[in-house]
Amino acid sequence: MNLKAMNLKTFKGGLHPPDGKEFSATKAIEVCPLPEEIIIPLAQHIGAPAEVCVEVGAKVKKGTLIATARGFVSAPIHASTSGEVIAIEPRLHPMGKALPAIVIKPDGEDAWDENLKGANPDDLSGDELKACIQAAGIVGMGGATFPTHVKLSPPADKQIDTLILNGVECEPYLTADHRMMLEATEQILDGIAILRKVLGIERAVIGIEANKPDAIEKMTKEAAARNIEVQALEVKYPQGAEKQLIDAITGRQVPSGTLPMEVGVVVQNVGTAAAISDAVRLGRPLVERVVTITGPGIKEPKNLLVRIGTPLQFLVDQCEGLNGEPAKIIMGGPMMGQTQLSLETPAIRGTSGLLIFRKEDLPRYEAGPCIRCGRCIGACPIHLQPTAIATYARLDLFDEAEEYHALDCIECGCCTYTCPATLPLVQSIRYAKAAILAKKRTI
């Protein structure tokens, strides 16, 4: 396929970090075996944590509901294998502190709950489909983990006309979505069809970065028959950020402080679409996901289909172990991922990758004075002036930081990545954002 001939779309700003995908891009998805213990945190999505509905000692099957959603912006949680609930207690969470979790001892059968029943999406109405998605605990699997049914429930006054499927995977090193597009093409397309029905719209566009020509080719071939468009996008970080993706594909800009539905768009990750297909056709809730285990600190990088709650150490063991001494354990990608205190933490619904760097992979820099080179401004996909915001943040001048639109920052990290003075720009901006929001709450 000649990508040059395709008209690659993109946004203004951004940059090109080394992509690191060669570690795992060609590795087919493998099913990760059962660990000794599964740790399922109650907080795995944006919104209220789920509420436990089993007791210690209960026998559960794969897919059994173990915690119910608390309110609309929340999601239920299900057991990811069959076994016994051996503890409900705080465990180390990827967020870096101990948070309530349900611990399951697998019985080795890995048997699905017999009460789970699938349905043919053609027989269900849009609202019934949405109820399936909600009951299955589907959340955005690109990493944001926003409950999907919320995104699918725009207020009556918002006209949605376009569904965008995010297959960009612009974070370096991660290849989970890439592999999904190659290996679960059918499920993704089926999920898209369901999403279209729920939203009652026709137009669906899959956005894929041009560094995945095989995925673009396969998706294009299979999507055509279902009237789903595939748009190849220029390789540039953060092409997969929601706002940048919408801009690239539709030319619309989401107004500051609002959601994509404001411009008639709903964005879903390709992995989420596949999970939706399983939820409806097979009745299976979201209990597993593909995780890329990668980085120079891993002997044999892989893409694994992982049960939610599997400890990270177990994932590393499936990849022939650590390659040298780890210096940074990152859940997610190198630009936006979160460092982990230990490999004891479990993989959760938003875990797209486990990336391990050794000391030698991480040069340490001494931050110097800003040389006003303007690179942070050129790289900012929101076109902010990170240097100005960060300076105000360091001086605790939060009103000024807000005037420079600190709250619009999407925390993509481009500014810090590119700053020759190696200033912690986005870190300072986060600090300012937190202070501005705290002030707003008290007023």
């Binding site: 970090p17 800009q253 402080g257 940074k328 991922g337 991480l362 040389i371 006003r372 080179c373 076109h383």
Partner: protein
């Protein structure tokens, strides 16, 4: 193992393009011009270069020591200031003039404001202008090139711009050299300061910086473009007293200024729009000074004046933020 893990908030990787690498690339980009000026002006040029560069580095180290700040030589900015200063000096400058220039550049141009990143004016230009005003004779005694190995002695000569200014003032007409000799100007075979000589070498360095994305096109294009357009307008109106725009381009410090001095990051605006305004201002002031001012060359003054306007430009030029306009609608 656990306690040897780094915890930090994202991002976890860096481009690796740090300040010292940026400075080093600018120095590399100046190599062709420095080499050619040593070729044309011989050993005196080399000694000016060495004194300025080592002088700036020495004064930088001294001021860090005096102010008990960490030694900042590694960022390469002092060395770069030294090279730029040398390129702005007459090739036959005496050692004390070069050393004095280096001291002004570092102390008055940079360190009094707090060092790298805080100085409002380009340090090398501050030094050049202070020298020009304090030592007008020494700073304007130019020599004709005496290429290495040619056996020629350095003889006094005027710069093409200087000659033009004198001729226009005395006779009201452009001298012959404003109409010919462009090939010499292009290769750098003319009188001038070290770095004001070779258009081709400066262009080469400038393109390297653009290609390596060390600088963006906005300032050089706006600066040079403005000089060419305004120069062309005057030339079209009366070609007997106003030189051809190519003459503006190839003689004097325009290329050096546009690619290497005006693009100094610390002292120029940070936004694209701001850089265009800055470049335009530099170009306009340069032509006006060259054609109507008291000095034959206006590049240094133009850049310094625009340096002074930089905070104001930055205050009013903001990039158009994603999703902002719609929000108000």
């Amino acid at each position: 193992m656990e306690n040897r893990l780094y915890l930090s908030s994202s991002p976890h990787i860096h481009s690796g393009e740090t300040t010292d690498k940026v400075m080093r690339k600018v120095i590399y980009a100046l190599l062709p011009a420095t080499a050619l000026s040593i070729y044309f002006f011989g050993l005196p040029a080399l000694s000016v270069l060495l004194i300025c560069t080592l002088g700036c580095m020495g004064f930088e180290a001294l001021s860090c020591k005096l102010m008990s700040k960490p030694l900042a030589l590694a960022d390469g900015s002092a060395a770069l200031t030294g090279v730029l200063l040398a390129l702005n000096m007459p090739p036959t400058s005496s050692w004390w003039l070069a050393l004095f220039g280096a001291a002004i550049a570092i102390f008055i141009g940079k360190q009094v404001y707090g060092g790298l990143g805080y100085n409002p004016f380009n340090p090398a230009l501050v030094a050049r202008v202070v020298l020009l005003i304090s030592f007008p004779v020494q700073m304007t005694s130019w020599t004709a090139p005496a290429p290495l190995g040619s056996g020629l002695d350095a003889i006094t000569a005027a710069t093409p711009l200087g000659e033009m200014k004198t001729a226009v003032m005395l006779t009201g007409k452009l001298p012959e050299l404003a109409h010919s000799g462009f090939l010499n100007y292009f290769t750098g075979n003319m009188a001038g300061s070290l770095g004001e000589v070779s258009a081709i070498a400066l262009l080469l360095g400038g393109l390297y910086l653009l290609f390596k994305k060390v600088i963006s096109w906005h300032i050089p294009v706006a600066f040079i473009g403005t000089v060419l357009v305004i120069g062309a307008i005057f030339w079209a109106v009366s070609p007997e007293i106003y030189p051809n725009p190519l003459f503006h381009l190839l003689t004097g410090g325009l290329l050096l200024g546009a690619f290497f001095m005006a693009t100094d990051m610390v002292t120029s605006p940070v936004t694209d729009k701001g850089m265009l305004i800055f470049g335009f201002g530099c170009g306009l002031l340069t032509v006006l000074i060259r054609l109507f001012g008291g000095y034959p060359e206006g590049v240094s003054f133009a850049i310094l004046l625009m340096n002074a306007a930089t905070p104001l430009i930055d205050r009013f030029c903001h990039p158009k933020i994603y999703g902002q306009t719609e929000a108000k609608a």
